[in-house]
Symmetry: C2
Subunit: 209 residues, 2 copies
DNA sequence: ATTAGATCTTACCATACATCAAGGCACAGG
DNA sequence: CCTGTGCCTTGATGTATGGTAAGATCTAAT
């Protein structure tokens, strides 16, 4: 048997998204940002690879430079429940696990081949020192996170599967095209079969797209 | 008609719980705490009175010195969904509303006659300036809050009504005795009738307490 | 080209929970 | 004492969603 290995020249990774992110959220000069970028840990993650598994202590937040990640839990009966998707320019992590240094109950997995930036607590500390704007942006993100969690709880308490689906496609129209439906079902808290029926009903009601 | 008004002498309000709270969460001297306590806004809230209504911008966090508060939303079909209970020593507020200066979608109501301390952003700022321990304790509370919201989402996604009820009484055994069952049902995201049946089933299975 | 695997759909039946209606109980107010 | 009101329960029935199984596509690997 002949094995053919093709070695592509390793291309320098482009971090345009993360660079833009830093320049928007902080008041650092471009020079300072470029310097930071050189120190930052970047990895290419293949579809299906895990950045965090339940039981591990989460040590980084992950910034999706390219691709798509998801965070999910697995309950006692083995069912997955998707907590969050993270396409380009999103941060994903287990905040409590990082903060309390406690084992996470989340899995974080790439669902497309992705380029991911590893953001450590130290990194956050350093940049926060350098830029008060950055600090404020992070405060704000934290509050938004809480707001979003509240909203999700409300939906789960009060809305039907169909309503939740409609909210989802309105909030994340791009994800609808990139994520398999069964994952959307998991995010919504229903089975893929139910989602299929919901979509059928909506189609019957002349719902477009 | 004769109207009889009895004027009780206004008793000085005791703030033992809040005082203890401050001394645990901060490294301030007792003298400093006593000074703070004199400035703090305290109100007696009758059962059924509201501290916040949907549409208002939330201006304070509320510390329950005595009594019991609840926060809830009302959905389009008029159904209430309880977000949180706050017995003694708990803080309750709409963080996002305060932070973003945006109209809240929460109601906060006293479900027992209560003594409530109004905690403004300025108050938080002042005490945070005085004590780094206090600042850290607040950070920690914020992270715990997120953790708790995550947990609730997980329960709603994955657990049955019965499981959620069992979690509730294990986590808040004291509330079970103080809160009407229909409110617990609302917190769990089920109807009072369903909760009644869940309890009946548990009783059949020899479940104690 | 063939196969295997993943995804999505559909049909049928099962179950959890909601809804509606009625009744019991406790407690407060006239 | 009676009466209303709020809370809880129970039964009958409805509905949304789950579970199982099968088939249709589609893609990727052999």
């Amino acid at each position: 048997m002949i094995i053919l290995i093709i070695l592509k020249p390793k291309l320098p990774v482009v971090l345009d998204n993360f660079k833009l992110y830093l320049s928007e959220k902080s008041d650092l000069t471009e020079a300072a940002i470029d310097k930071i970028l050189k120190e930052v840990r970047v990895e290419s993650i293949q579809k299906g690879e895990f950045l965090l598994s339940a039981g591990d202590v989460c040590k980084h937040a992950f910034f999706t430079e390219k691709g798509l990640l998801r965070a999910f839990t697995v309950d006692e009966s083995g069912k997955e429940h998707i907590i969050q998707f993270a396409p380009e320019n999103w941060l994903i992590s287990d905040r409590s696990s990082i903060y309390f240094n406690a084992p996470s109950d989340l899995f974080i997995e790439a669902i497309e081949n992705s380029t991911v930036i590893f953001i450590s607590t130290e990194f956050m500390g350093v940049v926060s020192e350098m830029s008060s704007k950055f600090r404020k942006a992070n405060d704000r993100a934290l509050q938004s996170h809480i707001r979003q969690l509240q909203h999700r709880i409300n939906q789960l308490l009060g809305a039907t599967a169909e309503e939740r689906y409609l909210t989802f496609i309105q909030k994340y129209p791009d994800l609808l095209l990139r994520v398999p439906l069964w994952m959307i079902a998991s995010y919504l808290g229903i089975t893929p079969e139910s989602l299929s029926r919901v979509r059928k009903d909506l189609a019957k009601k002349n719902f477009k797209s």
